[in-house]
Symmetry: C2
Subunit: 277 residues, 2 copies
């Protein structure tokens, strides 16, 4: 069953990294002017800013803060580095609290110098180590499985099944998943694992873009929805059938789009959101 058409922008969220050339102040003004109703703030955008004030400016402009991106990167071969990662995640929780962001997206990390199974255990341990503080701050954490092509350094969590299993192991209402079509579209178990996430009320975020064919760069060649081979509406249907009705987050890393006028790019995003999502 196809999902309901998106007839307005009330659920459109854009990641600050999608419009990378814009500062947080420019993004605030330009998103508001364009009618974008949600934002996911990447932490670098807050460098040198009064974080609470940045949050106030966004809300004053009518923009809801969907999440702070990104925590994670827990695995490391030595214990001191793992502790530094935990400290950095505690800092991210402080930042989310200051911003009044309800959610942190976790790019969980991996260390090519050790087996994936160890990295996976360190991710569970790392999340466990910050859960109490997340609860105090009222901040949820979303495990985002990343495409297997990032298993060397970015994330040892590469399928939604793994993310679901970690959530079950951690067994906390604070821990859920972020479903990103770019990372998961190829997985034959995607629909059933979305159902599993949904049954446990764990679909905390939904990220969209597209897989260009051919893809020319491992990191920065994502496409607008409709520009590639991912059936984005089908996957949106699956998350919505399973209880998700939150923001639809446009997260595009693209050297191509970053090089163009960002105002024009934002109009393209709105069109792709309305017609191809």
């Amino acid at each position: 069953m196809p999902p309901q058409p998106l007839t307005d922008f009330s659920r459109l969220c854009v990641h600050t990294i999608t419009t990378k050339p814009w500062s947080i102040e420019e993004a605030t003004d330009r998103y508001a002017a364009a009618g974008v109703k949600g934002i996911t703030v990447w932490r670098q955008w807050l460098d040198g800013r009064d974080i609470a004030k940045a949050g106030e400016s966004l809300r004053a402009a009518g923009i809801e803060i969907v999440s702070l991106c990104r925590g994670g990167f827990f695995p490391a071969t030595d214990a001191a580095a793992r502790q530094r990662a935990i400290d950095d995640n505690l800092k991210a929780i402080d930042e989310a609290e200051a911003l009044d962001a309800p959610l942190i997206v976790l790019v969980c990390g991996a260390d090519p110098g050790q087996p994936l199974a160890e990295s996976r255990q360190q991710i569970v341990d790392g999340i466990g180590a910050v859960l109490d503080r997340a609860g105090q701050a009222g901040v949820k954490l979303a495990i985002e499985p990343l495409h297997p092509m990032y298993a060397d350094t970015r994330s040892a969590v590469n399928t939604l099944r793994q993310a679901n299993e970690m959530c079950e192991q951690l067994d906390s209402p604070l821990v859920g998943v972020a479903v990103d079509v770019y990372h998961l579209w190829w997985d034959p178990d995607l629909q059933s694992e979305i159902q599993r996430s949904g049954r446990a009320d764990r679909i905390f975020a939904f990220h969209v873009c597209d897989w260009r064919s051919p893809t020319e760069d491992l990191l920065n060649d994502r496409g607008l929805m409709g520009e590639g081979c991912i059936n984005v509406p089908q996957i949106r249907g699956w998350v919505e059938e399973n209880g998700f009705n939150g923001f639809i987050e446009v997260e595009i890393f693209s050297n191509r789009y970053w090089a163009m006028d960002q105002g024009e790019f934002l109009e393209k995003i709105k069109r792709a959101y309305s017609e191809k999502t």
Copy 2:
């Protein structure tokens, strides 16, 4: 349990594409001189050659033909293109018969214009359509699951589990799997699925190289064994514990290595094979 050390080159096989600058004639001479005992011949290397004679020359040089690479590419949105793919696979079987190669590796294909599930069904149908002819020719077929980053155009079969399921569906002693560490290393189910392949005597081929970190190109930046983050000996141990004792095939696509002296590269391959495989 670590696998037995590789103390000689009796199981070393090199793919002609690994030493891409060399023709089949050069590869025959140079592999023989270097003591490489096996070869997997890519079909392009036979263009314009008398195929039976190329096979004789290889055997006369003491080199065993491990497989012909590659068949597959079955999916397409229109029926005529699917029939052309089947015809091309029949031609590949003719070539394998002329070369006296016992096995064809299948890069199964995908079409970004249709759902992966349809491509997957067309792969099963396509293999089914050539099975009788493969049986007459005495040629086996290995389904090679490819990394999910190739799911748009190269293969809709992206995990060993999927390949095993297809083998079970086709249920023929002619159809098995090729386990390539580059495509499968990230999969948390890899060991159990290798066991499943082994129980059914379906591990027809084992391909090695490494995942460089960072990887700079989606296709042509593979590393020598030991140069990346894949635990190649562990995976070799898994296939050998499950009944595989055939050639270990070095299949490296690398702009970096293709640009160097191929004789020096072949020595590097032998060292990586002896010490890091």
